[in-house]
Symmetry: C2
Subunit: 223 residues, 2 copies
């Protein structure tokens, strides 16, 4: 069976801060572990023990309510560091969406190493700051944009973050997309169909979106 991978086993790279962030940090990470599709990396409310980095595959960072409503706070893709939190407990869970290779290190030793060297301390902080920045962007989307704008932005975000210039191989099912965008799967599906009819995208199969009119998508998603 062909293992599903989101892009190649990419070298570490920070998506927003222009490269060069993670190579140093990567030295602090331990050996990599394979997580199967849909397996839990850490549970919601579990105590924080480790820091993680995605080598290949992809991870959803999600939070569940008692009644089953779920919000995905982020997707972690190859090159992303995650689980780097100062709190004692995770307020979101992390699950591998597909078979994924994840590097792990105990948080304590990771941080001790980090604080001992100013340049590294700065990078750890900058990484957290990037995550904060992304969370704020996403918050903005969830608060103030239409379903159409969210889906358009999602396609562009995935294209950018997976570095898949034009043909996006989505590692996640519609359910995850919906829970990320604060919509239902039905709405996501309808908007995909709409964008297809407007010839902004095409959908060769469920897991691929091809961008056919990038500037129109950008205009639609622009904030």
């Amino acid at each position: 069976m062909l293992q599903w991978r989101t892009g190649a086993t990419a070298p570490f790279r920070s998506s927003e801060s222009g490269g060069g962030l993670l190579p140093d940090v990567a030295k602090l990470m331990g050996a990599s572990v394979e997580f199967n599709r849909d397996s839990e990396i850490f549970e919601q409310n579990a105590s924080v023990t480790s820091v993680y980095a995605v080598v290949s595959g992809s991870v959803r960072f999600s939070r569940l309510m008692q009644d089953g409503r779920r919000q995905i706070g982020a997707f972690y893709l190859p090159g992303d560091l995650f689980g780097l939190e100062s709190e004692d407990r995770h307020s979101f869970a992390a699950e591998s969406i597909v078979n994924s290779r994840i590097k792990m290190t105990k948080r304590g030793s990771f941080l001790e190493a980090a604080w001992s060297e100013p340049a590294l301390a700065k990078k750890i902080w900058a990484e957290t700051s990037v995550h904060l920045h992304r969370a704020q962007e996403h918050m903005f989307r969830l608060g103030r944009t239409t379903a159409e704008e969210r889906v358009a932005a999602f396609v562009l975000e995935m294209d950018w973050r997976l570095r898949s210039s034009g043909l996006v191989a989505l590692p996640m099912p519609r359910r995850d997309i919906a829970d990320y965008l604060g919509l239902t799967i039905e709405t996501v599906s309808r908007i995909f169909t709409l964008l297809k009819r407007q010839e902004l995208i095409s959908i060769p199969d469920w897991r691929h979106i091809a961008i056919r009119n990038r500037s129109a998508l950008q205009q639609m998603s622009d904030c």
Copy 2:
């Protein structure tokens, strides 16, 4: 004229991480400056120059779209540090909601001091991590909860963060509440009226909310 203040001029305190975070950081901050009601502390897209701390008053952290839609990403209240970002440009603006006293320091010197001392570096990171945590909480609210749940959570959040056990003096108008919660002012107003009719709160005047049934509010807002 009586100046509007959100609680007393409180000593620094970190809301989530149990106190003791900011006293050390406060030493790094410069002199305080008074910002008038509705004045801009930094603009959206402005380059990042400084780090700020609220001494008294309150600040909204907001982002505007071309067509006028606005999302408030956070409210900063006495004791909060803000503007601590690794990016070069602000993607949100910061404006004082009421007359506010703000301490400021150049980011460069602040960070240099921080990195030179591991304990301090750790606190700076932890502070950013707290902001990240709040952003994720808020993201969850915006994505997956009803108007009623958002408003209930808002009242409790303000009560907690302003340490106003039961009688909340809201520093911000309905427009800001709405833009924070991703709703319209009409919806916020209707929900306040609803909560009042259910006797969960009372509204002595526009700027005050009295909590009358805390556990019911908690249940309503609970995630």
